[in-house]
Every structure is written in structure tokens, then in C-alpha cells.
């Protein structure tokens, strides 16, 4: 029954470096190398490919956050880390669906990842808060905020994009938007 998934796997250190540099190529290689393993895990344990996709992407986010927070130590293989995270996430989902989890079929060794997942859950809450706050904020505030703070556009560009007569007007607008966003974010 057990079948090892074989593919050319990039070195772990390369991937960590790639993540720190926001390399798209690294993400792609990571995805291609490790997604099959997770797909196998989920399919063999009463899930479908969409479940596998969700679980795997979540685990990649966990990995990214961990690497970017700077406290990633390569004390286990990246593969084992991802597998363990996915396994935990999938078990949790199965539990939520109150499906039996008597014996999950394993395909790889596992390590304890509870701490990472706790951190991830906290981040996840923040993410959802921010997401809902931004949605409530509405246009054009949302785009202004995103452009300025996330995409790091200059006030001048924003000014032109939204047709403000001068940068000061834009700055005022951005300030008002930010205040509203903060209010929305912290009130919930």
C-alpha cells in the first residue's frame, strides 16, 4: 500500500534562502516537490484533492511565516516539517467533520509541530480580522491602503491613480482611511 513519492527534491537550505528572497521559483519548486506527498496523505485518509490543496497551502504559509520570522532552524527535514503540519491540519479537519480518525494512514515520519501551529492559529486570526476589516472598509479606501502599505506605492502614484488634485489631499484621504481601518480592526 505504501508508496514513496519520488521526485527531484531541491535542497532544504536553497528553499529557505528562496523563501527569504520571496523567490517565485522556489515556491514553485516547493509546491511541485511536496504537494504530491500531501495529496497522497489526504486522499488515503478520506479527503479529496481540494482538501489536499487547502491543507498544503496552509502548511506552506506556516513554513513561510516561520522562516520569515527568522526562527527557522533546520533541525528536521523540510519535508518532515511540511508533512507533520499537514497531518495535524488534516486530523483537525477530520475531527471538525467528526469523521473517524482512529487510524490515519501515514506515509512519512512526523515531528511535533504543535507550537508552530499555535503561532499559526494566532496569525490566522489576525489575518481574518484584517481581511474582514478591509472588506468592511470598502473602496476606494481599501485600494489606497493596499497600494500604500502593502504594494509600497508612493503617494504621488496614488494621487495620479485616484485623480486627487495634490498629494496632500491623498495623504488626508489615506489618513482617514487608516483611522477607519484601525477602528474596524480593533473593534472586533
Amino acid at each position: 500500500m505504501k508508496k514513496e513519492v519520488k521526485s527531484s527534491v531541491p535542497a532544504d537550505s536553497e528553499i529557505v534562502l528562496g523563501i527569504l528572497n520571496d523567490s517565485k521559483e522556489t515556491l514553485s519548486r516547493l509546491y511541485i516537490s511536496y504537494f504530491p506527498m500531501v495529496l497522497q496523505l489526504v486522499l488515503k485518509n478520506s479527503g479529496n484533492e481540494d482538501d489536499a490543496k487547502d491543507v498544503f497551502q496552509e502548511s506552506v504559509i506556516v513554513l513561510y511565516n516561520k522562516v520569515k520570522a527568522g526562527n527557522f532552524e533546520l533541525n528536521s527535514k523540510l519535508k518532515t516539517f511540511l508533512y507533520s503540519v499537514c497531518r495535524r491540519l488534516w486530523l483537525k479537519r477530520l475531527n471538525e467533520q467528526s469523521k473517524t480518525t482512529r487510524n490515519i494512514q501515514d506515509f512519512s515520519e512526523i515531528i511535533a509541530v504543535e507550537d508552530d501551529l499555535e503561532k499559526h492559529e494566532e496569525k490566522d486570526r489576525q489575518f481574518e480580522l484584517m481581511e474582514s476589516a478591509l472588506i468592511q472598509l470598502g473602496e476606494p479606501c481599501k485600494t489606497i491602503i493596499e497600494d500604500y502599505y502593502i504594494h509600497n506605492r508612493s503617494m504621488q502614484e496614488i494621487c495620479e491613480k485616484f485623480g486627487y488634485t495634490n498629494a496632500d489631499n491623498a495623504k488626508t484621504q489615506k489618513y482617514k482611511c487608516l483611522q477607519r481601518l484601525k477602528k474596524l480592526f480593533f473593534q472586533t
Binding site: K3, V5, K24, L27, S28, Y31, I32, F35, P36, M37, L39, Q40, L43, K44, E49, K53, Q57, V60, I61, Y64, N65, K123, Q126, F127, M130, E131, L134, I145, E146, Y148, Y149, I150, H151, N152, K171, T172, Y175, L178, K182, F185
Partner: protein, 363 residues
């Protein structure tokens, strides 16, 4: 004092590293001197970090989705988890349920059968073979000693384990009975109506017709007078009155009836169906018609059904006799051809037949 708006813009500029020269120095100075301002900067920075985390995660997700779109998921799926055939998938999914259901069914069936006594009955046939299990007296030490002390001159002291009936084939000591009566016997004795027992040996068996031919080997045996009955070669008709004599107990019992069908149990052409009262112990008894011809030999009756006994047709007895290699016999086996029973009343017939009918005891 600057307005909140101006301050925020300043902090934004600071965080983006747009401040230079004296403005930066002023800003740093202000942070150091004014803790509430410093707090404001930290708060703002944290929020912005939060915002950018959100941004990078959105980007990461969309990047991953793009990669996911480009993958051939079905191919990967086939590689990592080859689809089992539907039947096997269903089996895997439901095998526990199936096992439980099967066990429950098995237990229920067994319990039902057990409680209705199904297992205690023999199910191989609905025909009860009519050999009698003699209620054997416990063979106590005392009995044994008694036997040693005054050993009877003839026959064994202990009653046999099984009993049936047999009748003489010829005057020189050949007796026919059912195979099932003598089956598995250690030794076989026949006992006549006088109570004399003779040791016999098995000289021929025919399990297919359920027949066995015995020869009395006991030295105390004296030749009989010539047989009063003959063996009928032709088949008897349905409705013919018949009678039998047997040993359902330790005494000869006469039973009277008629041939009720040409064939036996389940269309068995070897036997007749006879409507006649028979009991265990009647097996091997002769079935005679009114004129005293042996037309068959009683061998069984149908279970759970009244008045359906079966008798092996006499033609098969004759066939069996023919099948015995004559060379191997000590004495010639000649079948009687003269009938002296015809025209007699039933009680006279019984009297004449009495000495030729034996109880067969099997040990």
C-alpha cells in the same frame, strides 16, 4: 504641536525610510524625549506590519493558486494513490460493517437453530433407519463376575448395543438383514424365537441396497426344516395386503399393512413405500404378501410422517444372493422354491414363520 494627521504621515515616512537629515534627527529626538509619541510609533508600526503580513499572505496564496492551476493534479493523483476498483473501494469502506453484519447474522442463525434443536437432529435423511438401540444395562463389575461364575452355554450374556431383525434365506443357516443393522459391528449374533443365540459371520454386504447376508457359524445350530416362504421375483402391486414380523422389542411382533407406492423415499426405485406400523428394531424384517411370498425387507420409515415405511424389493435380495460368489461359501446357498404358506390363515402363517425370523444383535 503637530496634528494627528501630520504625525501619522511623518511616521509613515519614517517607517518607509523617506526621512533624511535634520528631519530624521528631529524625529529620533522626539521619540526619545516623548514616550507617548514613541508608543504611537510602535503601535503604528505593529499595525502596518500586520497589514503587510496580510498582504504577503494574500500574495503567497495567489501565487500558490497559480502554481496549483498549472499542475496536472489528475496525473499526480494517479501516481500517489492509484484508484482502486470500485468494488474494492466499497469493500474497504464497508468491510467493518459487513463483518459485523455477518457475525450478527451468523449468531442469530446459530442461536435460532440451536434453540429449535436443529443440530440435535440428523439432517442427512428424512428416513429413519429402523435398527433398535437396545437399552443396555450398565455393565457393572457384579454382572461381569456373575457372568464368569455361571456363564450361559449359548450366546453372550450382555444384550447387544443395537438390534434388528433378520430372516432365513435357506435352511442351512443363511440369514439376510439390513446392512445398516450390522454396519460397524464387532460381532453379530442372531437369536431365534426360542431365545437361542447363534454367532454369525458376515459373508456379504451390499450398502447400495442396504442388504447384508449372514451365515450362522455356531456349532450348536441345527439345520432348519425347509423354508415355508419363497421370494417373489416380480414387483408387487400397489394396494396389495402385506405383513411383517420383526423385533421392535425382545419378542416377535406382527405388523399388517399394504403396499402404498411403487417407489420408496424420494423416488427410490429399490424400495416400496408400505403403509405398515414399524418401529426401530423392525429393520431387516421380511415383508410378505398374503400367500406367504417375501416381497421385500423392511429398512426404514419416513421421519415426521405417519404410515410411510420403506421396504427393499425382494428382487434385489435375489440379485444380492446371485452376486455372492458361490465358491467362497462353505455350504451351498439355495433359495427355496416351494411355498407352504399359501392359503393358511394369518395366525397359522405366523406360527410357521416364527422359527425363521431372528433378532439380530450387534455388538
Amino acid at each position: 504641536m503637530k496634528s494627528d494627521l501630520e504625525l501619522t504621515n511623518l511616521i509613515d515616512a519614517y517607517l518607509k525610510g523617506e526621512l533624511t537629515g535634520s528631519v530624521l534627527a528631529d524625529f529620533e529626538q522626539l521619540r526619545k524625549s516623548d514616550p507617548s509619541f514613541d508608543m504611537k510609533v510602535v503601535e503604528h508600526r505593529n499595525f502596518i506590519l500586520n497589514l503587510s503580513d496580510y498582504g504577503s499572505r494574500v500574495k503567497l496564496s495567489s501565487d500558490m493558486n497559480a502554481i496549483h492551476e498549472s499542475l496536472d493534479i489528475q496525473a499526480i493523483k494517479d501516481e500517489v494513490a492509484p484508484e482502486a476498483p470500485k468494488l474494492r473501494r466499497l469493500w474497504k469502506k464497508y468491510r467493518v460493517n459487513t463483518a459485523i453484519a455477518a457475525s450478527v447474522a451468523f449468531i442469530a442463525v446459530s442461536a435460532t437453530l440451536l434453540s429449535t434443536g436443529y443440530f440435535s437432529k440428523s439432517i442427512s435423511t428424512n428416513v429413519n433407519l429402523l435398527r433398535r438401540e437396545i437399552n443396555s444395562i450398565k455393565r457393572s463389575q457384579n454382572a461381569l463376575i456373575k457372568n464368569i461364575n455361571d456363564k450361559p452355554s449359548k450366546g453372550p450374556a450382555d444384550p447387544g448395543e443395537f438390534g434388528g431383525t433378520g430372516f432365513a434365506l435357506s435352511s442351512n443357516g443363511y440369514v439376510v438383514t439390513n446392512f445398516h443393522v450390522v454396519k460397524g459391528a464387532d460381532s453379530v449374533y442372531v437369536q431365534n424365537s426360542e431365545g437361542e443365540a447363534f454367532k454369525v459371520k458376515l459373508i456379504y454386504i451390499d450398502p447400495a441396497y442396504d442388504l447384508a447376508v449372514l451365515q450362522i457359524t455356531d456349532p450348536s445350530f441345527e439345520k432348519l426344516a425347509s423354508l415355508p416362504y419363497t421370494f417373489k421375483k416380480a414387483a408387487s402391486d400397489v394396494g396389495e395386503d402385506v405383513f411383517t414380523i420383526g423385533f421392535p422389542r425382545d419378542e416377535q411382533v406382527l405388523g399388517k399393512g399394504y403396499v402404498s407406492a411403487k417407489n420408496g423415499y424420494a423416488g427410490d426405485t429399490v424400495a416400496y413405500q408400505v403403509s405398515i406400523p414399524v418401529n426401530p428394531g423392525n429393520s431387516g424384517g421380511p415383508l410378505l404378501d398374503n400367500r406367504g411370498n417375501v416381497i421385500g425387507i423392511i429398512n426404514g420409515k419416513q421421519a415426521l410422517l405417519d404410515g410411510a415405511a420403506f421396504a427393499i424389493k425382494s428382487s434385489f435380495i435375489l440379485k444380492s444372493i446371485e452376486a455372492i460368489p458361490q465358491d467362497s461359501l462353505d455350504e451351498k446357498l439355495v433359495v427355496n422354491k416351494r411355498n407352504t404358506l399359501a392359503g393358511l390363515s394369518r395366525k397359522d402363517q405366523f406360527k410357521k414363520l416364527e422359527p425363521y425370523i431372528y433378532m439380530v444383535k450387534v455388538y
